[in-house]
Amino acid sequence: MTLPLIVAVTPPLFGLLVLLMREDWLRRFTVITGAVIQAGLAILLAVTMASDLPERFMTTLPSLDSWILGGELAMAAFIAVASVAKRRILPLGLAIVQAALAVVGERWTGGIETQTHFVIDQVTLLLVLIVGVVGGLILIYAAGYMKTYHEEHTKVRDRRRLFSFTMFAFLGAMYGLVMSNDLRLMLLFWEMTTLASFILIGYGGDEEADKSAFLALNLNLLGGIAFSVGIVLLAARTGTVELDGLLAVAQGPQAALIAAPVALIALAGLVKSAQLPFTPWLLGAMVAPTPVSALLHSSTMVKAGVFLLIRLAPAMTGTTVGYLVSFIGILTFIVGAFAAVSRRNAKRVLAWSTVSNLGLIVTCAGIGTYELVWVALFLVLFHAVAKALLFISVGTASTGTGSLDIESMGGLITSMPRVTLFLIVGISCMFVAPFGMLVSKWAAMEAFMNLNSLVSPFMIAFLAFGSSTTVLFWAKWMGLLIRTSDPNAPIGLLEDKITGYEFTAETMLMILAVATCVFYPLVSKFAFEPYLLDTYGKAFGLDRNNMMVTVLMVGMTILVPSLLIFISRRRKDKLSTPYMSGRVMTGGPALAFKGAKGAELKVATRAYYLENYFGEEKLLKLGIAISVLLILIILGTVLI
């Protein structure tokens, strides 16, 4: 099996190549070539392997254990040096613990013969495609964005070579992670993604960037430690260190033995997927340049977390640990949806929305029935594409308007019409009916209804409240974008600065976002249903008629307004002025009315943020308190 190896190794090789290049144009050329090639390879892998899954294979690398140990120790050393350089004690301590665990783990598990190092199945390929295609497009975007970023942020040291290298390495680590069946290998790649995100979040180099980077590092190291302990426990109790070995035990009579390892490994997944109480690391990570946020939120990092939980779903289903994980998920879902209402910073809104959607994925994985795993897989797919589109479009919008405040995007349809289109498509995909995320939520409700469990009505109620609240912040944002205070204003004034790289990536992602909503029945039929049949012995898909209805609706939702806009453009209706109690002033560039003594007063409207009801701080505190309790219960039930 050489193709999977090539897929995984190509990005880091291009990363190394970029590291050697000093000329700006040459580097950018290499980044784009590398991004395209690795995406092409990912697609090639998916196409060639799709017919005969799952595929298992071994690596022929001699003394793999030593390689893993070496890798772990090298990363621990790097973290130790970085911690000492920045005078941080906690990460230093965590790195030492991690190194010690790696040594102990190697002693303990080193003798275990692994049956299968790597497995490629439909879920692997889903993640490979997301990493390759979405990640690749973000790299192309970054090639344009980072140039503008450094022109505007003159204080930030230009370390673009390190930046590109780390982005590429990140993708490579993700490929390795999603293919791993040997948990020790998975842990190695897991720690690599932690390290890569640490470097990228800290790119800005200032106090805030350092703080956020170390917060992400600390929490994820903690997760990594739980992962290591989980593997050692698993090996000690069952003699296997493989994922499918673990799942096999879970089906058998000795399932109770693995409750503790599953809980510990799931804990690592919860940290990485930014569930409460670990959410703050993802919120802090938005200080990084936009491409980093896009990468962390859509195709890497958090998706590694939910990937692991989806992998564990068959072992969690019906267990106490599984239910508790799903409670953390639904709590995160609700808190995320509520907190997003009160935020003005566009990246913060997106971050909370990610947290919320990840929460729903975790809920599904924790309950872990085949129907809910189907939902979880689709949420991963739809979310990756739409959120990547939204993040990079917000980045472009902020280059134009000079602000991340969503209020500053008022009337963006006039000044940046193309970016507005990208944003509207992205936002629609997140919350409106025929598009992906809402279809998944609808499927989740139906799945909960078919679930003969006490938790069902509660979960449905939470879902109803959470998903209704998302309407509040998404629709308000859309409304701001399309505000037209002056119908005669020049179009597209702020789009000059935007590079072709950015527009290319955004256009491609927009097309992908719509395509996923149109072709999802095929994905279900040819990828997810066979996977569920293999794993659970049962296949699930939404009712075919319903799926067709949603696909037709996607078509209508795009065509009807477009057609109507096209037709009404040709109409020459005389425009009237908005109602202003008879005191409207015309002729000026902005909407205005006559005040006292005929003074011209400009109209200013502001969206609502409902801080008193949906205040972020209160919600976060409450969420952390409850979730810490839940985590303690999880640890208590399995360890005592």
Binding site: G411, I413, A433, P434, L438, W442, M445, E446, M449, L454, S456, P457, F458, I460, A461, L463, A464, F465, S467, S468, T469, V471, L472, A475, M478, G479, I482, R483, T484, S485, P487, D543, N545, N546, V549, T550, M553, M556, T557, V560, P561, L564, I565, S568, R569, R571, D573, K574, L575, S576, P578, Y579, M580, S581, L591, V603, T605, A607, Y608, Y613
Partner: protein
């Protein structure tokens, strides 16, 4: 039953506004009688809308007409899917889509009255949606189906099993039908503090389309009420008529509330009456297949 759905769906497209307009006319008539007035003729809403369509189209920007027209198209589509027998849970989400087009049309003007009206409409949508979803889940629990006709054909009297959910649904229908005390985003009368809120900057045929969409919507909203009483003909007639009367009565005896009250109370209603009914019902019916 099979095969006839498509004809009902087509009939809905043609007859929907007639039924909706009649509901509107009857509403005005009963309201007038409650207030001791003679009231307009039953067909007055039709005269009003016909007049709106004779006016010149004067949009305030180039997006307003397409967005309002989309609102109308999707309001009709919601009903078509509903009477075609598609999954009603999905349909409720499509209904949200239709409403969002109207809200966007209001936002696009940038005028203060429309903007605040749109803000309030979004808050109302957030307020009523959980209760509607819980109501549909409750109906599913009774009939084990999300198909309009299958629930209709169910012999179990849903109102007996789901009394809390029925009341909760009536509560949020007040919002969806733009009735007092929840007529805060727009109303039929331009004398509120927001002028006409959401529709302040819509006139002539544009406002006519909003009215038409409203008629289409009220047909399937009452069809939803019908599902609670569909166990027999008598209960169906009495149930829907009673609900209709109740809504008009509440409309007449209450004063408009602030959005905070609307949102908070709707959610409390959804939790107490909705979830408080759903959870015991679910637990009891779990044993009986």
């Amino acid at each position: 039953m099979k095969g006839i759905e498509i004809y009902i769906a087509i009939a809905y497209v043609i007859l929907g506004p007639i039924v909706g307009g009649l509901i509107d006319g009857l509403d005005r008539l009963i309201t007038a009688r409650m207030q001791g007035r003679v009231g307009p003729p039953l067909l007055q809403p039709f005269y009003d809308v016909r007049k709106l369509f004779t006016r010149r189209i004067a949009p305030v920007n180039r997006l307003q007409i397409p967005l309002v027209a989309s609102h109308l198209v999707f309001a009709i589509l919601t009903g078509v899917l509903f009477f075609y027998g598609s999954d009603i849970l999905l349909i409720i989400f499509v209904l949200t889509l239709a409403s969002i087009f109207l809200v966007l049309a209001a936002y696009s003007t940038g005028s203060p009255y429309s903007t605040i009206g749109a803000d309030r409409e979004l808050l109302l949508m957030t307020a009523y949606e959980p209760m509607i979803i819980i109501a549909l889940v409750g109906l599913y629990g009774v009939a084990k189906s999300f198909n309009f006709y299958q629930i209709l054909a169910s012999t179990m009297p849903a109102y007996l099993y789901l009394p809390g959910i029925y009341l909760g649904l009536v509560y949020v229908l007040m919002m969806k039908l733009r009735k007092s005390p929840f007529d805060l985003s727009t109303s039929h009368h331009a004398h509120q503090e927001l002028v006409m809120g959401l529709t302040s900057d819509m006139g002539g045929p544009i406002l006519g389309m909003v009215e038409l969409a409203h008629w289409y919507e009220s047909v399937y909203l009452f069809a939803l009420v019908l599902l609670f009483f569909s166990s027999s003909w008598i209960s169906a007639v009495i149930g829907v008529a009673f609900t209709f009367f109740l809504i008009i009565l509440i409309d007449n005896v209450t004063a408009r509330v602030k959005w905070e009250v609307a949102l908070a109370f709707a959610w409390i209603v959804a939790l107490v009456l909705g979830a408080g009914n759903l959870i015991p019902f679910y637990l009891i019916s779990r044993g009986t297949p």
